[in-house]
């Protein structure tokens, strides 16, 4: 197996030039998580218009897989609604990354961004729910 199986050009591209990287002044929800195995960190900030995501940005540090995955996800999530995020699955993320051959420990790197985005979205939904 060659290294190219995982490090597809698109992943390296997003790692080197992360899209939607940085923080927003104003946002509706945010979440942060880390991967104790690698020390990957991702923080996302999300702005909503109604139930739709109008903007999402992230900051973080870590391996190419974690950072590229988070960055690609921010692009994908823009304009989508809360339900879309809630229904995101592992397979969706792998498909987004071009189905790299990841083992059980590296898959956590790939899924960190999704975990953080879901947390931010669930927090937002909870804040809109009447007690």
């Amino acid at each position: 197996m060659s290294s190219a199986d995982i490090y597809k050009e698109i992943i390296l591209d997003y790692y080197r030039n992360p899209r939607n990287f940085g923080k927003m002044e104003k946002f509706d929800s945010s979440a942060r998580d880390s991967n104790p195995l690698c020390g990957d960190e991702i923080e996302m900030q999300v702005k909503f218009e109604g139930s739709k995501i109008s903007e999402v940005r992230f900051v973080g540090r870590g391996c190419a897989i974690s950072q590229a995955s988070a960055s690609m996800l921010t692009e994908l999530a823009k304009g989508k609604d809360v339900e879309w995020v809630k229904n995101l699955s592992k397979d969706d993320i792998l498909k987004m990354l071009g189905n790299p051959d990841l083992g059980p420990s590296r898959i956590k790197c790939a899924l960190l961004g999704m975990k953080v985005l879901k947390q931010a979205v669930y927090s937002y939904a909870a804040s809109k729910t009447e007690v």
């Binding site: 290294s3 199986d5 390296l12 690698c38 990957d40 540090r61």
Partner: protein, 410 residues
């Protein structure tokens, strides 16, 4: 270039069938020995032999198998004791270094530590020699203080000399699992003793690789794990000075740690049995004894010299790579075979994955030493660590692998 071998590596490779495995089409180069080592056939067969022929519970049954199991288990204790120059009643079998240190925490520190006492640690401790002390400090209102690390990755001994007076416990690693630094624990324990400070030495990264003599070090406690020295998982050792073990409270309560049990109280068994409640890991202890026999057959001094040669070669080879930063001492003197590094532009996990694609196993991450990662302002490092079966050719393979990393991330 270093060519002299102190160990006939080719001769012993037959003892480690796992090392001839192919990983992703390449011969496995196993450089994750600071995490755990591979096990030779001799150890696997000794454990097998116990379960096939002698298995029974120790210290209880008087039938033949019970006596045989007890003899094997206590024989293992004697083997461990002579390996580190201790008395056999000073050897407590545990699950590993982590449990050994937690035993000191529960059975000594919970009893004797007082409010505002200071526990002196170092910045290069493994989490297992930090977190137990944090927990007991919180409970007893004690304080933690850390001895720093200098640019070269050596302990700032002047800070230790300054802070030892007024401390109650000194918990110090013999060898750093990240930097490879060998600390002068003999000097540290001598300073501690003069100031009436209890000493706990983490020997997880030293006992497998260099001579460890508890009398020479002069420590009160010393902990290490079997799995990092050719033995099975789940067996470890706590050495404790006999007088201290005797005055301590028990660790776990249960069978075999008691002398007499009444409805409302119990009296404790003699040391070390007081600390070995429940059915013990007999197979593990037997495996550890066999591992020590294996190490002694080769000679711990030969292992130390061989690893120093491989380490020096590794330091010289890796330092030729542009954009590669090695942490810790830059020469093999005063360090063991643990080499941590980072490559500019490539996260350690990406490095480890690409190396794995080329059959090379290294560790990447924070190495259970987050305070040290923060000291160097990095989230993670790559780590290659050697043992008696590694060769200069393995270092060459690592070098070739890193070149491939640079092709992807360069």
């Amino acid at each position: 270039m270093l060519k002299s071998y102190f160990i006939d590596v080719k001769g012993i490779l037959h003892d480690f069938p796992i090392l001839s495995r192919k990983i992703n089409g390449h011969r496995l180069v196993y450089l994750d020995n600071a995490a755990t080592t591979q096990k030779p056939l001799q150890v696997i067969e000794a454990v097998n032999d116990f379960y096939l022929k002698h298995n029974a519970n120790v210290h209880r049954s008087v039938h033949t198998l019970g006596e045989e199991a007890t003899e094997l288990y206590e024989g293992a204790r004697e083997k461990v004791a002579s390996f580190i120059n201790a008395g056999s009643e000073e050897i407590v079998f545990t699950r590993g270094t982590t449990e050994s240190i937690n035993l000191v925490r529960f059975a000594w520190a919970e009893k004797y530590l007082e409010k505002d006492d200071v526990i002196l640690l170092t910045m290069m401790e493994h989490h297992s020699n930090i977190v137990p002390w944090q927990l007991v400090a919180r409970k007893k209102g004690a304080k933690l203080r850390y001895v720093g690390v200098d640019k070269e990755g050596r302990l700032k001994f002047d800070e230790l000399e300054r802070d030892i007076a007024g401390s109650r416990i000194l918990a110090i690693t013999h060898c750093s699992n990240v930097l490879g630094t060998v600390n002068d624990v003999k000097k540290a324990c001598s300073l501690a003793r003069k100031n009436g400070v209890l000493t706990v030495v983490d020997a997880a990264q030293s006992a497998p690789h260099i001579r460890v003599d508890v009398r020479e070090i002069g420590c009160d406690f010393l902990a290490f794990s079997g799995h990092k020295m050719l033995a099975p998982n789940g067996i470890g050792v706590l050495y404790g000075r006999k007088e201290i073990l005797q005055e301590m409270d028990p660790f776990h309560g249960g069978g075999d740690m008691i002398k007499e049990v009444f409805l409302d109280h119990a009296t404790w068994n003699d040391v070390p049995y007081k600390f070995e409640a429940g059915t013990v890991n007999t197979g593990g202890a037997i495996g550890l004894a066999e591992a020590i026999r294996y190490i002694e057959k080769i000679g711990i001094e030969n292992i130390e010299k061989h690893e120093r040669a491989v380490t020096q070669y590794c330091l010289e080879t890796l330092s030729k790579i542009e954009g590669l930063l090695i942490y810790g001492p830059q020469e093999a003197k005063g360090r063991v075979g643990v080499v941590s590094f980072n490559i500019k532009g490539a996260h350690p996990h990406d490095v480890a994955t690409i190396l794995d694609r080329n059959g090379i196993a290294i560790r990447s991450g924070h190495h259970c030493a987050q305070p040290l990662m923060n000291h160097y302002s990095v989230p993670a490092m790559c780590r290659a660590s050697f043992y008696l079966y590694n060769t200069l050719e393995d270092v060459d393979r690592l070098y070739q692998g890193i070149k491939k990393v640079k092709e992807v991330f360069g």
